[in-house]
Symmetry: C2
Subunit: 218 residues, 2 copies
């Protein structure tokens, strides 16, 4: 943790160019043969289906193997243990979201006006957070790393880029943190599970927030 001099007005851009940033758990993936990569993706989709249907607690290496139609040994070889599998699952979900907002179809991907892309980003991120809430809560970084982990930095880079177009007179670097806070897994958990709010209310509040900070309406 190196502190820049207090006089530095603007911190360096957190990510140099929009690109998929992984959680650092499968750096060997680019070297996988094509069939191994397909196999891995199939296992993760099977695991995601189990989490969606029964919650993270219900996911075992055995059930993932059965759901994907492979031997249990394959799952252990690929992910090491259950924690490795669950972390890979989180990484997989975040990369799908990144691919969608960086290069997918509009309005989430390029081609729509920036405020419209911001609205779509919040909806997609909320959807993903609610889907994987248990996993994301369990994997929350400690407070000193919350704003520096790669998935957060990719989201920040993307939202700041859109805000600079939609609200060029704002301090977009800072305003981005404020917007992203509304998608924070701990807050989403509090609102949905401790306060009993429906997800639609969170989506509506995101849309309203984007309207207010950009001075536009959907």
């Amino acid at each position: 943790m190196s502190a820049a001099p207090p006089s530095a007005p603007t911190p360096p851009e957190p990510v140099d160019s929009p690109q998929l940033v992984q959680l650092g758990l499968d750096a060997d993936e680019p070297c996988l043969r094509a069939d191994a990569a397909r196999n891995r993706a199939r296992l993760l989709e099977a695991a995601a289906g189990l989490v969606a249907a029964h919650g993270a607690d219900a996911v075992t290496m055995e059930e993932v193997a059965a759901a994907a139609g492979v031997g249990k040994g394959t799952v252990f070889r690929r992910f090491g243990d259950r924690t490795g599998l669950l972390m890979a699952l989180l990484d997989h979900g975040e990369k799908k979201l990144q691919a969608a907002f960086l290069s997918g179809p509009p309005p989430l991907g390029p081609g729509a006006p920036p405020a419209e892309r911001l609205r779509a980003f919040g909806r997609a991120a909320l959807h993903r957070t609610v889907e994987d809430l248990e996993l994301q809560l369990a994997a929350q970084p400690d407070p000193g790393r919350r704003f520096t982990v790669p998935p957060y930095r990719v989201r920040h880079h993307h939202v700041a880029m859109l805000l600079r177009q939609a609200a060029p007179d704002a301090d977009c670097e800072l305003l981005t943190h404020t917007l992203l806070a509304q998608l924070d897994p701990a807050l989403v958990h509090h609102l949905i599970h401790q306060c009993g709010m429906p997800r639609q209310r969170l989506e509506d509040a995101w849309t309203d927030l984007v309207d207010r900070v950009t001075g536009t309406t959907a």
Copy 2:
């Protein structure tokens, strides 16, 4: 952590009436004789002075005793140990802020327009966060309790009350969480110590945020 039924549209107000809420560390304080209460306050002011001058690490029971002009035994009897002293110090600072925004002079206290009180609240809360940053970071609740601890609930109650007047068409319950996120100790630490931003920039961003969400200007 009891979940309300998913159909409940609005969670109960987090705090029933504006009142000073403690961290729960000195519930015996109302029973203190007046001179003991004064003595306690003097010790805490001495400790706060030491934190401000030398940082939390430099604060020892001995130095607090010396700075307050009392025997070391008095400090140990009052706070138990160094952790007890530091937690009491956090509680003391938060209660001073609460007293200022609930019943102090305007624009932070009652008597100014709501948007102006919101701007003053952010400045005061940022000032307090920066002052006690080390202590507040060390005392961060875990993600499942971040939005339910009494100090957060008091701040939420206050900001939501002002927002309902300044932005009556917003979902103020939710928007309040978003505003408070910009004052989060972990974010303030990131911006000031990891990104090298001056505190003034955080204050300006708060003012701009209040302007945008309320559609007013300072």
